[in-house]
Symmetry: C2
Subunit: 262 residues, 2 copies
C-alpha cells in the first residue's frame, strides 16, 4: 500500500504544508537581516532562524501527532514509532547567511526508514514542491514532471559545489561532468526542485545527512525521476550521503555506472 492510501495521509499532508508555512514565514523574517551566526560543534553555521523554525515545527507535530517520532538537524531526536518526521529547518545555511536566495526548508515523513512524504520549501522565492508516495508531485499546486532527457551528452548537471567531493569521489564526479552538456554550481535542495520541474536533468551531491535527502525522495519520484545513492541503492535513514537524482531511468543508469566505477 502506498502512503497516499494511508488513513493518516490527508492529515499528515495538511501538517506538512503548515510546517512549510512556518518555515517560509520565519526564514523570510530573518533573510538578509544580518542575523547573528553561531557555530555548532562541527563548525557549521546556525542561526536564530534555523532554531526558531525547528522549534515551531516540533510543537506543531507534537500537537497533531503525539505518537510520531521526530528527528531534526538542530535538536535531539524524540519519540519512536513507525512514523518519523525528518526536518531540516534551513538547508543551505551558508547561502542563507550570505543573502543567496536559493536555500530551502526540508520536511519529510518516513514510514520505517522509507520516505513517504517530502516537501522542498524555498522561502525567498515562495516556491514549494510537495511529494507523496503514490501521487504526482506538485509545484506550487501544479503537477510537476522531470525532463525527458535520456542522453548524458545533452544533460544539464548541477551540484552545490565540487569542493564537497574528495579523492575518488571528485574523480568520479569530474568524469560524469565531462560527459554532460553543462555543469553548473550552487543551490542545495533547490536544485532537486529544479530537477522535479524539468529544468535540469541531473543533480549529484555527497555528504548529505538524512534530513538533507529524505524529503527529496518523494518529490523526485513523484515527478517521474530516480533518486538513489551513487551505487544505485535506495536511500534510507542509513545511507552514506552520496546522492544522485536523474530525470529519467536511462540517465540515472548511465550516471550510476560512472559514479560507482573504479
Amino acid at each position: 500500500m502506498s502512503f497516499s492510501e494511508h488513513p493518516d495521509c490527508p492529515a499528515a499532508l495538511a501538517l506538512a504544508e503548515q510546517l512549510a508555512d512556518v518555515a517560509r514565514r520565519i526564514a523570510r523574517r530573518y533573510f538578509r537581516m544580518s542575523v547573528e551566526v553561531a557555530r555548532k560543534a562541527d563548525g557549521t553555521p546556525v542561526t536564530l532562524a534555523d532554531r526558531g523554525i525547528e522549534e515551531q515545527m516540533r510543537a506543531l507535530i507534537r500537537a497533531a501527532f503525539p505518537s510520531h517520532a521526530i528527528r531534526g538537524e538542530e535538536y535531539p531526536s524524540e519519540g519512536s514509532g513507525e512514523l518519523t518526521w525528518v526536518l531540516d529547518p534551513i538547508d543551505g545555511t551558508k547561502s542563507f547567511i550570505s543573502g543567496y536566495p536559493l536555500f530551502g526548508s526540508l520536511i519529510a515523513l518516513a514510514e520505517g526508514s522509507r520516505a513517504v512524504l517530502g516537501v522542498i520549501e524555498a522561502p525567498a522565492l515562495e516556491e514549494r514542491w510537495v511529494g507523496v508516495e503514490g501521487r504526482r508531485t506538485l509545484f506550487n499546486g501544479v503537477p510537476a514532471q522531470t525532463s525527458r532527457c535520456r542522453d548524458l551528452a545533452r544533460a544539464i548537471l548541477y551540484t552545490t559545489t565540487a569542493e564537497t567531493f574528495e579523492g575518488a569521489e571528485r574523480t568520479r564526479f569530474e568524469a560524469l561532468g565531462a560527459r554532460c552538456a553543462l555543469r553548473r554550481f550552487g543551490g542545495d535542495c533547490y536544485l532537486f526542485g529544479m530537477l522535479a520541474s524539468g529544468h535540469c536533468d541531473l543533480v549529484v551531491e555527497a555528504k548529505l545527512k538524512p534530513h538533507d535527502f529524505m524529503a527529496l525522495i518523494p518529490v523526485i519520484e513523484g515527478a517521474g525521476g530516480r533518486i538513489t545513492d551513487w551505487h544505485g541503492a535506495a536511500l534510507d535513514l542509513s545511507s552514506d550521503g552520496r546522492v544522485i537524482a536523474a530525470a529519467t531511468e536511462e540517465l540515472w543508469r548511465e550516471s550510476v555506472e560512472v559514479l560507482s566505477a573504479g
Copy 2:
C-alpha cells in the same frame, strides 16, 4: 564633473529603467518555458529572449538618443560618439536555459570608455540595482551599501564557477579562496548585486566581456565598494575580463595582492 550632474543624466536614467522593464517583461515570459536554444559561432547558447530583449532595447535607445552609440552582446555595434550604451540582454544564459533564477540583464552607459551608469536587473526575482557615477546605488529604490568586512578571514567569496579559471588564474583564485571564511558558487551578475547590498564581501570572475562588467562598475562603486581588474587597474572597454569586486578598500587591497601575485 560626475555624470550625476550631466544634463542628460535624468533622461538617461529614465531610459535605463525603461530598458530594464523591457528585460524583465520579456525574460519572465520565456523563463522556464522550454525556449529553443541556438548556438552562436563561439558555441555559447542564445535564445529568443536574448535577441528579443536586445532588439527592443536598441529601438528604445535610438528613439530617445539618436546620437548615442550602442554595443550589445547579440548584434553588431552601431553609431559612435561620446556616449555608448553597453547591453547584455541575458547575463547567465546558461542559468536562464536551465531554469535557474539567478540570471540578469545588464545595462550600462559609458562616457568615452568609462562606465557612468549601470543597471543590474534580475527578472525572475524582480530585483534591480541602479548605479550612477556620483550617486548612491539604489536596490529596488532603496539605498544600498556594501558590507564593512575588512578582513579576508571573515569574508564570503562568490564566483560563478571555478572552472572559468585556467592555469595560473586557478592557482591564484584557490589561494584567495583558501584565505576566505566561505567560498560559494553560482550566480553571474547577481553576485555583484548581492555584494552591493552587503550580503557577500568579494566576487571574483574571469573571461568577462565589456557587456558583462561595465554595468557593474557604477553599481558597486555607488554602494561603497571597489571593482577593478585583478591587478587593481580601473575597468574600461579594453580590460582583459578578469574582475575583482570587494566590499571595502582593505579587502580589495588584500585580494589584489593575492590575485596579481606570481
